[in-house]
């Protein structure tokens, strides 16, 4: 394994066994992260982002979750093979996770200050007094006055709670911080404070970061690498520049044209038609084909491989060749997307899509 690599996930597959069937939450996912690097894990609800993070932490709820296969190499060992006790040590000392809902990781009957002090003491041998002083410092570092040390989580606003959770994660000085949508529930002015905090941690402690989000703005601000997931699979991976300026995968292109721009003047958005597929019943072949304006019969045959379209820029689409171009024979169809909701259930011939953004991007690539 490369010296520089902190984390390497290989062929990770995770499923949930439910009454309705088997949920294919994460399918054959491979990713790596260097020391000090920040990766944005992007995708819409249900794409498998949280499950991937739980996989890394070895915290997939079992039942119903099962890790079917794969490896997670971290500092020389496979996390999936560690004993419970060793894994707990890794979670305490090396990897911290900020969960989507801050309330789940705070103890409602213990004061905020005490909770921080306790987690500091797990990592360093400090007297109770010293640990409490550190907790006050940590609170102030996240913009909460030290005198609120003795308050309980429910006395804090949502934004303050989220900052406390992040403060606890940071107080542990992790080698790897996994933040699962840490700012999704926050107002933008509070989000700005939290992002500033995370940026400082990166700078001061050289921590690596996996930032899970569906906000492409947040990713552009804090990450260097981006991985886009769709239906449990990685569909595009590269640097910020690769993903934002040389977007290749039709789904990624669709995501970018779905968000209203703050500095442009578009009259109409160009959404991706249709809906996310049911993860219990994924379409055969490329799971994006029922919504894809570039789909051909070949797309329905087998899951496309990840192709390195440019150096270190990976795309999972059969029509993208090694030079990053769309094959000429790939058919495109015309259309309006706004009202048609039943696309996933109809033939793709009903689908009409505005493909100008795609053409544009292909022309520029």
């Amino acid at each position: 394994m490369n010296e520089n690599k902190l984390l390497e996930i290989k062929n990770l597959t995770i499923q949930y066994k439910t009454d309705n069937g088997l949920v294919h939450a994460v399918n054959d996912l491979s990713l790596s992260l260097k020391k000090g690097e920040s990766l944005g894990l992007v995708g819409e609800t249900g794409a498998g982002k949280t499950t991937t993070a739980l996989g890394i932490m070895n915290l997939v709820p079992d039942p119903p979750g099962i890790i079917i296969g794969g490896e997670i190499q971290f500092e020389g060992s496979d996390l999936l093979k560690l004993s419970k006790q060793n894994m707990r040590k890794v979670r305490g000392e090396k990897i911290s996770m900020v969960f989507q809902d801050p309330m789940t990781s705070l103890n409602p009957v213990m004061t905020v200050g005490k909770q921080i002090a306790e987690s500091v003491r797990i990592h360093e041998t400090l007297s109770r007094k010293e640990a409490e002083q550190r907790a006050v410092d940590v609170l102030e570092m996240v913009g909460i006055p030290g005198e609120r040390f003795n308050e309980y989580p429910h006395q804090f606003s949502g934004g303050m709670r989220q900052r406390v959770v992040i403060a606890i994660a940071l107080a542990c000085r992790p080698d790897l911080l996994i933040a699962d949508e840490p700012t999704t529930a926050l107002d933008v002015t509070i989000q700005a404070q939290v992002l500033d905090l995370i940026a400082n941690l990166k700078k001061e402690q050289q921590s690596s970061l996996i930032m899970i989000t569906h906000d492409l703005g947040v990713v552009a601000e804090v990450c260097e690498k981006v991985a886009i997931m769709y239906a449990g699979r990685l569909i595009e991976y590269g640097t910020l520049d690769d993903i934002y300026n040389h977007t290749r995968h039709p789904y990624s292109i669709g995501l970018f044209s779905s968000i209203p721009s703050i500095d442009g003047d578009e009259e109409r958005l160009r959404p991706i038609p249709g809906l996310m597929p049911d993860p219990i019943n994924l379409p055969k072949g490329c799971s994006f084909w029922p919504r894809c304006n570039r789909a051909t019969e070949n797309c329905k045959r087998a899951v496309p491989a990840l192709i390195e379209s440019d150096p270190d820029h990976w795309v999972r689409c059969i029509h993208i060749d090694k030079a990053g171009f769309f094959e000429k024979n790939a058919v495109s169809k015309k259309t309006d997307t706004s009202r048609n909701e039943s696309i996933t259930h109809t033939k793709d011939t009903d689908v009409e899509i505005d493909s100008s953004k795609l053409e544009e991007s292909l022309a520029s690539g």
């Binding site: 989000q191 569906h214 997307t337």
Partner: protein, 335 residues
């Protein structure tokens, strides 16, 4: 173009054990027929309360609401019933606002029954339901499904169809796309724009997403702790903010772009409480531009220029003051 709705000095207070919450505290604005007023502001600033009070789901504490020229702040029972047809609301969480035991069809049908549309003719009502399903892009085969069987985007379409059932002129949309994924959000935003154009609908569009509000609104009002702090044409706000809170708010939006740098204003200080607020500027505790006077009296909303209104002691009637960048900023660089 005519004004459909005008609100003057509207107040809505809630009495609680710890004091009186000034959820909406002296809000004035007007909306022209067929247009959209966007309302933005942080969580708890009174957006939903404003929307509910305007369409008379809540009784205002004080102030006037003029709808189509008539004051509807204390309507008779008859008037209220008529208003219920003309004014509708679409909610943020389409799940909790839909009855789980009612099918899609019955959900859309119910308001027609209550208001005895088509003289109570069931066949005509049912036809109308199917037409509405077409209009909002719900497949007719889903008519007998229950909300829990459907995804968020479809549930929001049911909410929209139900709101349209009585052919309203005016709709308060309370965070209608906030719970949706971006690809579905874009589908719903396009639908709402199309409906507005076809039916000449007037919207109040509540959201905390600034790029959404910019996209959909003609006019925007920025709220802070129950009050309007800045109001102007939608495009103008994104070019020039005259209120320190709006300035900070806009600087805080993360841009989905690489190779851009900009200065961000980080707000420090505690958010003031909406409970029995002191008669001073409510933003003063966090405001990087605050002066002594800001802690002494409340600023009024003044017209600085071209339909641009601001409530800040730094701004004078007809004399817009261009806010400098405060000292406490961080440089944001998207590499």
């Amino acid at each position: 173009m005519s004004t459909l709705l005008e609100v003057r000095d509207l107040k809505k207070y809630f009495k609680t054990p710890s004091g009186t919450v000034h959820a909406v505290d002296g809000v004035s604005f007007s909306i022209e027929e067929g247009k959209t007023l966007g309302v933005v502001g942080e969580s708890g600033c009174g957006k939903s309360t404003l929307g509910r009070t305007v369409i008379r789901l809540l009784q205002p504490t004080a102030g006037a609401i003029l709808y189509d020229g008539r004051d509807i702040s204390s309507p008779s029972k008859e008037e209220l019933k008529a208003l219920r047809r003309e004014m509708q609301m679409i909610f943020q969480d389409p799940f909790s606002s839909l009855n789980p035991r009612m099918t899609v069809k019955d959900t859309i049908l119910e308001p027609m029954e209550i208001h005895r549309l088509y003289d109570g003719d069931r066949t005509k009502q049912s036809e109308s339901v199917l037409d509405l399903m077409d209009t909002v892009g719900l497949a007719r085969r889903l008519a007998d499904s229950y909300p829990h069987e459907l995804d968020g985007g479809r549930r929001q379409r049911i909410g929209i169809a139900r709101a349209l059932a009585l052919e309203p002129r005016f709709i308060v949309c309370d965070e209608p796309v906030s719970a949706l994924d971006v690809s579905i959000q874009a589908q719903i935003l396009n639908l709402m724009q199309d409906l507005q154009e076809e039916k000449n609908l007037t919207y109040i569009f509540i959201t905390h997403d600034l790029s959404v509000v910019k996209h959909i609104s003609d006019k925007i009002c920025v709220m802070y702790l129950g009050q309007v702090v800045e109001m102007c044409h939608s495009k103008t706000l994104f070019k020039q903010q005259y209120h320190p809170y709006s300035q900070a708010l806009l600087s805080a939006i993360p841009l989905p772009k690489v190779g851009v740098t900009r200065k961000r204003i980080l707000l420090r200080g505690e958010i003031s409480s909406p409970i029995d607020p002191k008669p001073i500027c409510r933003f003063a505790s966090r405001c990087p531009h605050a002066k002594p006077i800001c802690f002494e009296k409340e600023p009024n909303l003044v017209h600085v220029k071209d339909q641009h209104y601001v409530a800040c002691h730094l701004q004078k009637e007809g004399q817009p003051y261009e806010l400098p960048l405060p000292e406490d900023t961080v440089e944001i660089e998207n590499k």
